[in-house]
Each structure stands twice: as C-alpha cells, then as structure tokens.
C-alpha cells in the first residue's frame, strides 16, 4: 500500500493509499479523484486520465510506449517531461512517496 501524494486541479493536496498491482488510474478513480475521467476505462484509447509526475519521479517510471505518447502529446496541457496517462502506470510498492498532479483539461 504505497502512499502517493496527489495535488488535484483545484490545488488540494491529499495522500492516496494506493493498491499495488492496480493502475494509478484505477486507484485514483476508486478513491474519489473525480478530475480523472478515464473515459475509455484504461484501454489507452483516450487521454482523460492525464497526470503530471512531479519531481524526479517521472524518470523512475517505465517510459511511455508509442500509444501513450501519441495520445498524451495531443493534449493542450502536455508537458513532455512530466505527462503520463495514469492508466498506463502500474502501482508498485516502489512508488511509495511519489508526488503527482492531476493535469488540467485540454
């Protein structure tokens, strides 16, 4: 159960007690982070679960594959260094203490 620090779109900071083995998106939606829509249900077919990985955590995650890259880079709020689709990140115990920000729409 790693703790992930989340800043939502309104700037509220909360701690998410995440379940390892599930995606970051699933953890966010199950815990009431309603900024995350995840319309396609985690199929990497939309970009409605876009988050920023803060600090040097971005470099510690497995890199974006081509599908994720195509989708997330089409977002107006895309940040090359920090943007990820949270459905493509599997939560593991190694993510203890990771800090993320829910990306604005568009």
């Amino acid at each position: 159960m790693p703790v992930i620090h989340v800043t939502d779109r309104a700037g509220n900071k909360t701690d998410l007690n995440a379940n390892s083995g599930e995606s970051l998106m699933e953890n966010l939606t199950a815990n009431g982070y309603d900024d995350i829509e995840a319309i396609c249900g985690g199929g990497c077919a939309c970009a409605t679960c876009h988050v920023y990985i803060d600090g040097d955590w971005a470099g510690k995650l497995p890199t974006r594959d081509v599908d994720e890259e195509d989708l997330v880079s089409g977002e107006g709020s895309y940040d090359e260094a920090r943007s990820r689709l949270s459905c493509q990140i599997e939560v593991t115990d190694a993510l203890e203490g990771m800090t993320i920000t829910l990306a604005p729409e568009g």
Binding site: T29, I39, G41, A45, D67, D70, S73
Partner: protein, 403 residues
C-alpha cells in the same frame, strides 16, 4: 435542504452524472435507478476483455460500490421506472413505489434490436448488452463450439475476434456487402474482413438470416439462401434501439432519441437527458445527431452536472469511438459523410494505417488503425475545421504534423 435529483438509468451516463454531481458536496440528494443488479459499469469490455475472461466483473464497474456510499449516492438497483408524472414531479416504479424529484435525468440508453426470425427465442441465442449477457455466453460455450455471429458490426466482430482466439469455430453472417458498413469506408471494411478471415473466422456477406432451428435449443442457423450453419451458440449484434418510451409517454419531444438542447435539457426545464438515448445538437458538426458511444454518454452527463452546478458549458465535442479486435486498435473520430472523399494514409498490410474523410478538403472524420498519432492529429483537425491537401495526406514521407 438539498434538491432531489433522480437519475433514471445506471449505465455509463447515469453513473458519471451521479459521480460528477456529487462534487456539489451535499447540494443534491442523488438517486440512480437502474434495472440491472450491477452498479454503473463500462459496456465496452463486454464484447472484449470480459468476454475473453481477462478481467473480473468488478473491473468493469465505473466506481466501487463504496464510492457511492461514501458520497451518499443512493443506487436503487433491480428497479424499473414505469412512468414519469411531470405535473407532480414524481416517477413511479414497477413495484408501485413513487419517488419525487426536483430535477430528473433520463439516462435510459438503448436496448438490443431483436432479430425477428423463427427460433429467435431458442436457448443458445444470445445478445451482448449487459454483464449478464456476456457471462451467459461464457457459461454456455464448451471448448471448440460452433458459434454463428449475426451482424458484422463492432459488437459482432469484437466477439468473433475473442471467440476464435479461444478456439471456437466462428462464422459471421452479414446482410450487407461489407462489414462495418454503417460507420467506415470500404477500405476499412475490407481490411477487417481480411484480418478476420486470416484469423480463421468465416465471413458471409450479402447473406440474410432466415431462421434458427434446434430441438429445445439452437443447433443451426438457416441463412437467407437456405444454407444451414451448425451453431452451438448464436450471438446477435444487429444494432440497438433508443429507450425513449418513458420520455414519449410523459409528452417530452422525441425524434430518433429524446430531443435535448446543447445543455442536455429536454423541453421540460426540470428534465435532462444524456447518452445513447438522446438526439442532440452539436455546433462543431453543425447538425443534430444521436450517438451510441461512451464519449457522448460521459460528455453529456458532465454537461448536465455542469449546468446543475452553475457552470454551464454548451456540449460540442468531436465524437470519438474505439474498437479492439486482435492486435488492432481502431480509433475513430468525427462522423464521415456518405459522399466524403476517402484518403488512405499508410500501408494496410503493415496493420498500421489510417483513413481520413474529407468534405471539400475539410477533415470530417478519421479511422486510425494502430496509428495513434494520425488519430490525435485527425481529431484536432476535425475540431478546428482544418483543410488538407489529399495528396500530401496520402504521402507518408510527409510527417502527419507537417501535412
């Protein structure tokens, strides 16, 4: 005192509306009435991952049930609304209970179109609309069964892809001269026919269905030419019908769907509607339309929530859809017109290409197969009304961003 919002329908639209409305933190007393036993869930996996047995049922739920409890959202499941009384601002359930509302949202979705042929009610004839439908197919199929799919649309083809991979013998019977004829251009149809045939699916085109036969359960399909096809199970996917009856019976305007405006309002100021059951205007497309899609269900539900939370934003989104079959990720945006110019970009044999639809050079739609960057660009072009030069679009030496 918080206002009462009743949401009829616990599908994708109803679920998202409740979720989004709960952000008003106590402003609304929210009840979702659904006829199934399940909390709101995603339907796309029903013909894909759930049918394949790759995910448990709970994974299809939009949110865990606890989510609704934590937000005081009442899920009234296994319940069906019988009538809406607009003057009294109340609905009556089939068990006779009445519930009053301040605001009502119709998220009634669609139901499957049933096939009107003899034998259609035999056990072993299935449809795919609900979790229980999909579980029913899984339970009914023994290894290496003969499965006949009626209808070469998305549901039928997705199910065929899953079932042939599981070792079943699968035939698809399509009445028209190509699969997916209603939504994509011919090159895309032919590509999918080829991929299915290579995977071992038999596809019969220009073929009607005359009847289903069997002793106590379905054993064969007799097609329109009189040929018999062995069938341990039949899966019918021939489209859906919008559930507009409740709206019509209480006098709301309907025309191929419940008529709503760009704020998802019906002609009754206290009644909204969202999702597959609505016929709505879209300023981006400059027309009214009814869509069968997750995107529309979610975006219209959000539109209602925004209106009720005093942040109204008119609904005008580029429609988008997706379909997963085998290793093929099909992403679609926009609505192609029947006379649009069709431009193929890329090599179909590589299983990564896209098809663009142009009206006087302006991009109206894109179908991208394993080609996310073309999809993303196409969707942007549609939203912005961009005009492109067909020869440049077809030239893969020119990067998509520079077309």
């Amino acid at each position: 005192m918080s206002e009462k919002v009743l949401i009829i329908g616990a599908g994708h639209a109803g679920g998202i509306l409740a979720t989004q409305l709960a952000r008003g933190k106590g402003r609304y007393d929210i009840t979702v009435i659904g006829e199934e036993t399940h909390p709101p869930y995603e339907r796309p996996p029903l013909s894909k991952q759930l049918l394949a047995g790759e995910v448990p049922v709970e994974k299809t739920h939009l949110r865990p049930e606890k989510f609704y409890q934590d937000r005081d959202i009442t899920l009234k499941l296994s319940s069906r609304v019988k009538a809406i009384y607009r003057t009294e601002k109340a609905v009556e359930l089939e068990d006779g209970t009445t519930m009053s509302y301040d605001k009502l949202a119709l998220c009634t979705g669609t139901r499957v179109r049933e096939i009107p042929v003899p034998g259609a009610d035999l056990p072993g004839v299935h449809y795919i609309r609900t979790i229980d439908d999909t579980l029913g197919i899984q339970n009914a199929l023994k290894p290496e069964s003969d499965v006949v799919v009626i209808g070469g649309g998305y549901i039928g083809l997705e199910a065929a892809a899953v079932l042939v991979k599981q070792g079943h013998r699968v035939k698809v019977i399509e009445m028209l001269d190509r699969v997916l004829a209603r939504s994509v251009a011919e090159p895309v149809s032919r590509f999918y026919e080829k991929c299915h045939r290579e995977a071992g699916v038999e596809i019969l085109l220009n073929t009607g269905t005359d009847r289903f036969e069997g002793d106590g359960r379905v054993e064969r399909v007799i097609d329109g030419d009189g040929n018999a096809h062995a069938a341990d199970a039949v899966i019918v996917g021939i489209g859906v019908i919008p559930n507009v009856e409740l709206a019509m019976e209480c006098g709301l305007e309907c025309n191929d769907g419940i008529l709503v405006d760009e704020f998802a309002r019906t002609d009754d100021p206290d009644i909204f509607a969202a999702g597959d059951c609505t016929n709505h205007p879209n300023a981006l497309l400059d027309r009214h339309l009814r869509l069968e899609s997750v995107q529309n269900a979610v975006d219209q539900a959000r539109c209602i929530a925004n209106v009720l939370l005093d942040k109204p934003v008119p609904y005008a989104e580029v429609p988008w859809f997706w379909s997963d079959q085998y290793d093929l990720k099909l992403q679609m945006a926009g609505i192609p017109g029947p006379d649009d110019q069709v431009v193929v970009r890329g090599d179909m044999d590589s299983r990564s290409f896209s098809v663009f639809y142009l009206k006087l050079g302006r991009v109206t739609a894109v179908n991208a197969i394993n080609s996310g960057s073309d999809y993303v660009r196409g969707r942007k072009w549609i939203a912005e009304g961009v005009t492109v030069v067909p020869s440049r679009l077809a030239d893969t030496d020119i990067p998509i961003k520079e077309v």
